[in-house]
């Protein structure tokens, strides 16, 4: 996307500069509109219509693949934001709870049910997925999946007042064994 953008930018700049370094054509009358074929129909309309149609389709098809659909070994966790902390809950009746650290199994799709108890926040773990807002009264579901076990940084991404910068959390992705232990120890 960046490369395409750069190419388009360079094309426009080249056309623009060429207008100044081109042998002058003094004969042309100001009322001459013959340029509309190339400039308006071709470059003005045709060119963006084609590229944009491709880009939109591409973006939407990726977006579709990121949605929290049904999956065989899906895990669901709950993330609740408030000024300036995160509570995560797990298991059938949400009996397990952690503060500031979200535990997930690695290699399995996880749905995070995000909400807030005060103002609007946003759940964002850049290496796992895009961001999704935590809005009071609403529950938004974000699909994340950590390929490997390990620690990932997360943060709120919606301005929430004084403590916004420090409104961060971490994600612990466990391998299958330690995930099982986490669930077991948590319930006790």
């Amino acid at each position: 996307m960046l490369a395409c953008g750069l190419a388009i930018f360079l094309l426009v700049m080249a056309l623009l500069l060429a207008a100044f370094y081109r042998p002058a054509n003094p004969s042309v009358d100001g009322r001459d509109e013959s340029g509309t074929r190339v400039w308006m129909w071709g470059l003005g309309l045709g060119f963006p219509l084609v590229t944009l149609a491709a880009l939109t389709g591409y973006g939407l098809s990726i977006g579709e693949r990121l949605l929290p659909r049904e999956a065989p070994d899906l895990v669901t966790v709950q993330a609740e934001a408030r000024q300036w902390a995160w509570t995560f809950r797990y298991g059938e009746n949400r009996v397990i709870a952690t503060e500031g650290v979200l535990h997930i199994p690695a290699g399995r799709p996880v749905n995070v049910e995000i909400t807030s108890t005060d103002v609007i926040h946003s759940f964002w773990v850049p290496r796992l997925a895009g961001k999704l807002d935590a809005i009071p009264g609403h529950v938004n579901v974000l699909r994340i999946e950590a390929a490997r076990a390990g620690t990932y940084d997360g943060q709120s991404a919606e301005f929430s007042g004084r403590g916004y910068r420090e409104h961060v959390f971490t994600v612990e992705a466990h391998d299958a064994a330690s995930w099982a232990t986490f669930l077991k120890e948590g319930t006790q």
Binding site: G35, G44, V119, Y164, R165
Partner: protein
């Protein structure tokens, strides 16, 4: 103040000089100091507007420098987080509301009459009113900031963060009330500009011969009328929630914070185009002159501007891609957001094609336009990237977005406006540039702009979140931020140089000649600097570039050879033409200098600002003052006797506007009602939105309609529709007016009582968002029935005082328009209040 003395540019002797003296006396403003408070001349008002808007740009710029100072180094202790949030909120607010919009309004006030070949704007006093409201509201916001009472929730003020619970203190109220008053000013100006472009033009200036800038400003002004009302409604809802606890955004009581986001972005996205399109108009005006040719594809550009304007109202949700809206919803808005790039591309290539068609020269304005291309195209491309949903999910709310929006706003707006200032300077000040600081400034600003904001793009891609007050050294953003900050200081020096350059040149440079660039549009045919009356006679045009068709046009105009080239009637006259074809159709007499606009602005602003200090009584008194002054204002216009057709020159006998069925006031009302209608529509949208998605709905019970109230509403509506119609007929035939007025007022009263029944049934608006909405619906009916009644009374009094006659029937038509609007929206409002109960 506009000079009453003849300008030093050589005027043709004899008739021209006599005409100049006569017109200068009639149109001149009071030369004493208090003339600044009473003038309504577009040159004066425009100049003041321009100076004030530039001052706000300086303030916003200083705030930007504070931001960059804070971010220059990691773990900076320059500002505390509470201060930082006030600073970026105020920076965004000042730049968007106090600089960008007023600045182009100033440009249009200064330039439009000249370009269109008319003598002043349609409602000069309304323009003055808009100016003063803007000055009072803007100053209040700045003073609050200096007192440490600034809002701090970011320029889009999302609740619940901006609600009373999380933002106690008056910061948020300052924002809501201050910004709303500025929006009122913008709406006033927009109406004035629309009516001017549609009706006040040179003879023969059909729509297809209109200068392209006028098209752009027309489109933008209509956008203001349709984009600001949702925002005004949003501000009203939030202010009422903060002050009276009506829970529009409180989830526990059936509100929803997302409602605010919809209302805000319904305004906020079009706002971006409201800012960009005037700049595009400037480019489409200047660039062909710099290329010594005509704009390529004029019709294409007009169509592109109109479609851009309308498409931009279907994009608002792209600012809400991360709020959890279903993917199909996002897909609609992603598709619409990429589509909007197409008309933009049409414009860009029309301009490049124009350069290819002609012989381009690189004067200073053109240099800035090159700066525009190099910047705006990048901003447009990053914008398209942001419209791609998954990409948006990553970079939303990072510094990538900050960089994107500055590429669009500075590249797409500030640079073209600098080009415009330099291009039009000979026209506005009558001087040619002498000191050449402009080139130096260009090379300071544009490269350092790119260094600053390319670094900020990068920082955003690396994860730096916007609105965070500092960062740690180990986050890897230190070098980028330092570079951005240093370059931004260089850019600021460049901007300071421009302001200095323009100021110095305005006062001390050499007198210049008329039309130095060889442009073809009418503004260059007036004497420079433009006298108060603009044109000594209204030009007659045969093409899009009248000065190219007739190089001696200026002379003919000065000699009074156009329309109305005669000062003997001793009043401010200008021509009204038919909308599409530009045929002369009326002569309008504009009002003279008056202090009323200033006073009305004073009481209006008081009514807005008093609630900040809980001075509700003062606010109430001020509202009474608003109504009273508005009546005094209106009463002073019009005439007590018919004059018949007047001689407009060239053998044309034209009716006076006051003796026409569709005077400018009627057109102004139509557009004001458009804004009012959108405001009402936004309220209905909010109601439907809450009903559909807000948590904690339905309320425990729905309102049940009373049969008597329904009948009352229907009969009232009938009477209020019939009354004004019969009044018009009575005036036209010389019949008795009072009974018809009484009928109308009784109708208004009946509607109002029906509305009152709604709130009497639901006595506690703080209990649920549903109840609060019912109160607002009823309030809408109440307010409009009140206005209609006042207008009907006024009409009767005008009739009694001899201000109405079968010819002078325009005012009655205006009252009928308002009454019809009241009836239509009133019935819809009551139906909306009663329907859920009828079906539940």
């Amino acid at each position: 103040m506009t000079d009453a003395r003849p300008s030093s540019v050589s005027q043709p002797r004899g008739k021209a000089l006599r005409l100049h003296r006569g017109l200068a006396r009639i149109w001149g403003s009071d030369q004493r100091f208090r003339g600044w408070l009473t003038t309504s001349n577009n040159n004066d008002i425009g100049t003041l507007f321009l100076i004030v808007a530039t001052s706000f740009f300086v303030i916003g710029g200083i705030l930007a420098m504070l931001i960059r100072t804070q971010l220059a180094t990691p773990d900076s202790a320059f500002m505390a987080p509470q201060v930082y949030s006030q600073i970026f909120t105020m920076h965004g607010t000042v730049m968007m509301f106090l600089f960008a919009i007023p600045f182009f309004e100033a440009m249009s006030m200064l330039l439009l009459p000249g370009m269109l070949g008319t003598r002043d704007l349609a409602f000069p006093r309304l323009g003055a009113y808009g100016l003063w409201v803007y000055i009072f509201g803007g100053s209040a916001v700045i003073i609050a900031m200096l007192m440490g009472l600034a809002p701090d929730g970011g320029w889009f003020m999302y609740p619940p963060l901006s609600s009373a619970a999380f933002s106690p203190g008056i910061g948020a109220d300052v924002w809501l009330l201050g910004i709303t008053s500025i929006e009122v000013s913008a709406i006033a100006t927009a109406i004035e500009v629309i009516v001017t472009v549609l009706r006040y033009r040179a003879a023969g200036m059909s729509l297809s011969r209109m200068p392209i800038f006028a098209w752009y400003i027309l489109v933008v002004s209509v956008m203001i009328l349709t984009a600001f009302p949702p925002m005004i409604l949003g501000s009203l809802l939030l202010e009422v929630e903060r002050a009276l606890n009506w829970p529009f955004f409180k989830v526990e009581n059936g509100g929803d914070p997302l409602l605010w986001q919809h209302l805000f972005w319904l305004f906020g996205h079009p706002e971006v185009y409201i800012i960009f399109l005037p700049a595009a108009g400037v480019i489409a005006t200047i660039l062909p002159v710099m290329a010594r040719t005509n704009l390529l594809g004029y019709g294409w550009v007009v169509a592109a501007a109109v479609s851009l304007a309308v498409l931009s109202f279907g994009l608002w949700v792209h600012h809400m891609f991360t709020t959890g809206i279903p993917h199909i919803g996002l897909a609609f808005f992603s598709a619409a957001s990429t589509l909007v790039a197409v008309p933009t591309s049409v414009m860009i290539f029309s301009w490049i094609g124009t350069l290819w068609k002609g012989r381009a020269r690189m004067e200073l304005p053109m240099l800035w336009i090159m700066g525009f291309f190099a910047t705006f195209v990048i901003g447009g491309l990053t914008g398209v990237m942001l419209a791609v949903v998954p990409f948006n999910w990553q970079v939303h709310d990072t510094h990538f977005v900050v960089a994107h929006l500055h590429y669009v706003l500075i590249g797409g707006y500030v640079f073209p406006m600098v080009a415009a200032i330099y291009y039009f300077m000979p026209l506005l000040t009558g001087r040619t540039r002498f000191f050449k600081l402009g080139e130096v400034a260009f090379w300071l600003v544009v490269p350092s702009f790119h260094i600053t904001f390319l670094s900020i793009h990068m920082a955003g891609l690396l994860g730096q979140r916007r609105r965070t007050w500092t960062y740690d050294a180990d986050q890897g953003w230190t070098a980028l931020n330092l570079v951005a900050s240093v370059a931004s200081f260089v850019m600021a020096i460049g901007f300071a140089l421009i302001i200095l350059d323009v100021a110095v040149n305005a006062f001390v440079a050499v007198r210049g000649r008329r039309n130095p660039w060889g442009a073809g549009t009418l503004e260059w045919a007036a004497a420079i600097p433009s006298p108060a009356y603009g044109f000594a006679s209204i030009p007659i045009v045969q093409g899009r570039y009248p000065l190219h068709d007739d190089p001696d046009l200026a002379l003919h105009i000065a000699r009074g050879e156009g329309y109305l080239g005669d000062a003997s009637r001793n009043r401010r006259e200008t021509l009204i033409v038919s909308t599409a074809r530009g045929e002369p159709s009326q002569v309008v007499v504009l009002p003279g200098n008056s202090v009323l606009p200033f006073l009305l602005a004073l009481v209006t602003s008081t009514s807005f600002l008093a609630p900040l200090f809980d001075a509700y009584i003062v606010a109430g008194l001020a509202l009474v003052g608003v109504v009273a002054l508005a009546l005094v204002w209106a009463w002073g216009l019009g005439a007590r006797a018919d004059e018949g057709h007047v001689d407009a020159g060239h053998g044309a006998k034209l009716p006076l506007a006051s003796e026409s069925p569709d005077p400018p006031g009627w057109w102004g009302s139509v557009f004001l009602l458009l804004a009012d209608g959108v405001h009402f529509g936004s309220l209905l949208f909010g109601y439907a939105f809450l009903w559909t998605v807000a948590p904690n709905w339905p309320p425990h019970s729905y309102l049940q309609a009373q049969l008597w109230a329904v009948i009352l509403a229907l009969t009232g509506a009938l009477a209020l529709t019939a009354g004004p119609r019969l009044a018009v007929r009575a005036i036209a035939t010389g019949g008795a007016v009072w009974p018809t007025i009484a009928l109308g007022i009784v109708g208004a009263l009946a509607l109002a009582i029906a509305a009152a029944s709604v709130i009497l049934d639901r006595p506690d608006p703080a209990s649920h968002a549903y109840d609060a909405t019912l109160w607002l619906l009823a309030g809408h009916v109440g307010l409009h029935t009140f206005l209609s009644s006042i207008m009907l009374f006024y009409l009767a009094a005008r009739g009694a005082a001899g201000y109405a006659s079968p010819a002078r029937i325009g005012e009655a038509g205006i009252v009928r328009l308002w009454a019809d609007f009241t009836v239509a929206t009133g019935l819809v409002a009551l139906a909306a209040a009663w329907l859920p109960g009828a079906f539940a």
